[in-house]
């Protein structure tokens, strides 16, 4: 059924290939976010290692997949995803959240300055420390960044649910992507609002990241506050129906 509707779409003159008609998935719900690509479009394979594997090493499935991709239509790769070895999806997501008004250059430069600041601070500590402590000090800014964000992720969240004319804050398990989003959002708002007047963003961010890495600091406190609220509203957990 779906194939015939797609074929009909192809035969329409004047319409570009792959433009999807508005498909209503559920009655009463409209799609808010959609892409201009049809379902037949495959995601681009950006990984360099995938293409470097010599033909002899491929299994049957992988050979079949390669042949298949030769005939399929593939979406265009976004400009932000590179095949660079130094690329990090977490950093890209964080820069997108820091960006204001589409100024990606500024956001990216702030992030690189933050990583440099973190690195220099850790090197200072390393040179000042004794031999045993030197083994414990982490100098890689990327591990510090990832660990700090992981430490800031809440385990459980609150969702406002309407019942009997009132909104109740109900504790709810959060999906992975929601948790990562909340950690990054809290970090950015904290650095933007509680910053002393003349301090620059990279310095404040590096401070907050280092404190979150050691499980102290205001962002971790906010996570604990969220957990305490969830614990306090434990009785309302029955209002959740999913």
């Amino acid at each position: 059924m779906a194939a015939s509707t797609v074929k009909v779409a192809r035969e329409w003159s004047g319409l570009a290939l792959g433009v999807r008609r508005a498909v209503l998935r559920l009655p009463g719900l409209t799609q808010v976010r959609w892409s201009r690509y049809g379902p037949e479009y495959q995601d681009p394979q950006i990984d360099k290692e995938y293409y470097r594997k010599p033909l002899a090493q491929l299994t049957e499935e992988e050979k079949y997949e390669r042949e298949l991709r030769k005939t399929q239509v593939i979406k265009a790769a976004p400009a932000t995803k590179t095949s660079s070895v130094f690329e990090d999806p977490v950093i890209s997501k964080f820069t997108n959240m820091m960006m204001k008004g589409g100024n990606k250059i500024l956001a990216r430069s702030l992030i690189t300055q933050t990583l440099e600041a973190v690195k220099r601070k850790q090197f200072e500590k390393y040179h000042a420390a004794s031999a045993e402590e030197q083994a414990t000090i982490e100098r890689n800014p990327y591990t510090i960044f990832h660990q700090a964000l992981k430490n800031c992720e809440p385990v459980i969240g609150l969702v406002p649910i309407l019942k009997g004319g009132h909104f109740y804050q109900v504790p709810v398990p959060l999906a992975d992507r929601r948790r990562r989003f909340l950690a990054m959002k809290w970090m950015i708002t904290e650095c933007r609002e509680k910053k002393p007047r003349r301090m620059l963003m990279p310095e404040k961010l590096s401070q907050e990241l280092l404190e979150a890495f050691y499980n102290r600091g205001p962002v971790i406190k906010r996570k604990h506050d969220m957990h305490k609220m969830a614990e306090a509203n434990r009785a309302l957990a029955h209002y959740r129906w999913w």
């Binding site: 070895v85 990583l115 690195k119 200072e124 990327y142």
Partner: protein, 357 residues
């Protein structure tokens, strides 16, 4: 002084023995020597690197070696030769100049180092009308700061050199003929209003006396294109000031002329601090302008270019030895190829890339 390179070499005996085979290897300068040889300060990114690694390591490169060779074979009876280091942004002109200055300081030359001439033609808070010449302007802050640093750099010479004229500063103070140069410098530091004139006196005395041969003088100016360009400074009635109306610049121009013997003049032209010059300009003709080029005319240009493959490898090895490249992928071949592509072997860009990796 230790030389670190791709093959872990043992300590060098004397820096004068740097030769062709040491291209690409690093040598370190101890922290005390930094304070005496570079009181004005190193370029800010390099100073950060020195602070982080707790050691200052410069790479031995061909332009600097060429200049050292010329300096070792200078004939001090002939007028001073002018060398101009030029190149694109970030190729290492300022650090090559620092290498030369350190070498000359080790050889006991007198160092006249202006870290950045562009700072004297822009962003000046207080301009006073000069006491010596009504047409010119004084810059007390910059002059006094420079005199303080000059004192730390050349302590031992200041007591030996004697002034050959009487200088009257104001009704109560004057310097007699035959008193040591240190007094003039003290006068400039304590009486900030006369600091610019003190600088002028110092320059004139050094020029006169280096021809007599008691000491060898090295004039090292970074950003010499500021002397002949335009300034962003304005008078009270908002009319622009030309560089020759600033007393510091006027005296410095006299210093850079090659009518004295007994030393050498090493200059750098750079677009980074320059005013009203296009971003892609790096040749001496473009940056100095017609007037500057004609004044400096018989000079030896030395091109400072990007790293060659050996120097690039050596730089990456240096960062790896200091554990500066912390990213896991930076140690691999893939990572190095990527760094090469992104930086195009430009030293400045490579430093900035490795800072956050």
């Amino acid at each position: 002084i230790m030389l670190k390179g791709m093959t872990r070499l043992v300590s060098r005996v004397h820096k004068a023995k740097h030769g062709e085979q040491h291209v690409g290897q690093h040598y370190s300068i101890s922290v005390q020597e930094l304070k005496t040889a570079f009181p004005h300060g190193l370029p800010p990114r390099f100073a950060l690197q020195v602070k982080t690694f707790n050691e200052a390591c410069l790479m031995v490169r061909k332009p600097a070696l060429e200049l050292l060779h010329y300096l070792k074979n200078t004939n001090f009876a002939h007028p001073a030769v002018r060398y101009v280091l030029y190149g694109e942004k970030g190729t290492g002109k300022t650090l090559s100049l620092c290498h030369i200055i350190h070498f000359c300081a080790k050889q006991d030359w007198m160092i006249l180092h202006i870290p950045d001439a562009h700072l004297w033609v822009k962003n000046c808070r207080d301009l006073l009308q000069s006491t010596y010449n009504k047409q010119r302007f004084d810059q007390p802050l910059e002059a006094s700061v420079w005199l303080k640093n000059f004192k730390t750099a050349n302590e031992r010479f200041l007591s030996q050199i004697k002034v050959q004229d009487k200088y009257v500063w104001n009704k109560r103070e004057s310097t007699e003929k035959g008193s040591p140069l240190a007094e003039v410098v003290e006068q400039g530091i304590t009486r900030v209003r006369n600091a610019t004139d003190a600088v002028g006196v110092v320059l004139r005395e050094l020029k006169r006396q280096s021809s007599l041969g008691g000491f060898r003088l090295l004039v090292a100016v970074d950003g010499v294109d500021a002397l002949w360009g335009r300034t962003t400074l304005k008078r009270e009635d908002k009319s622009p000031i030309a560089p020759e109306e600033l007393a510091l610049i006027y005296n410095l121009r006299k210093m850079v002329k090659n009518d004295w013997q007994g030393g050498a003049i090493v200059l750098t032209v750079s677009q980074t601090g320059s005013l009203f010059k296009p971003r892609k300009a790096y040749l001496p003709q473009e940056l100095l302008g017609k007037e500057g080029f004609d004044t400096l005319d018989p000079f030896i240009p030395i091109l400072v270019s990007n790293y060659n493959p050996k120097e690039f490898e050596s730089c990456i090895q240096y960062y790896l030895e200091n554990n500066w490249l912390q990213h896991e992928k930076a140690h691999t071949e893939e990572g190095k190829k990527e760094l090469l592509f992104l930086s195009n072997r430009n030293p400045g860009l490579l430093e900035r890339l490795c800072a956050y990796l």
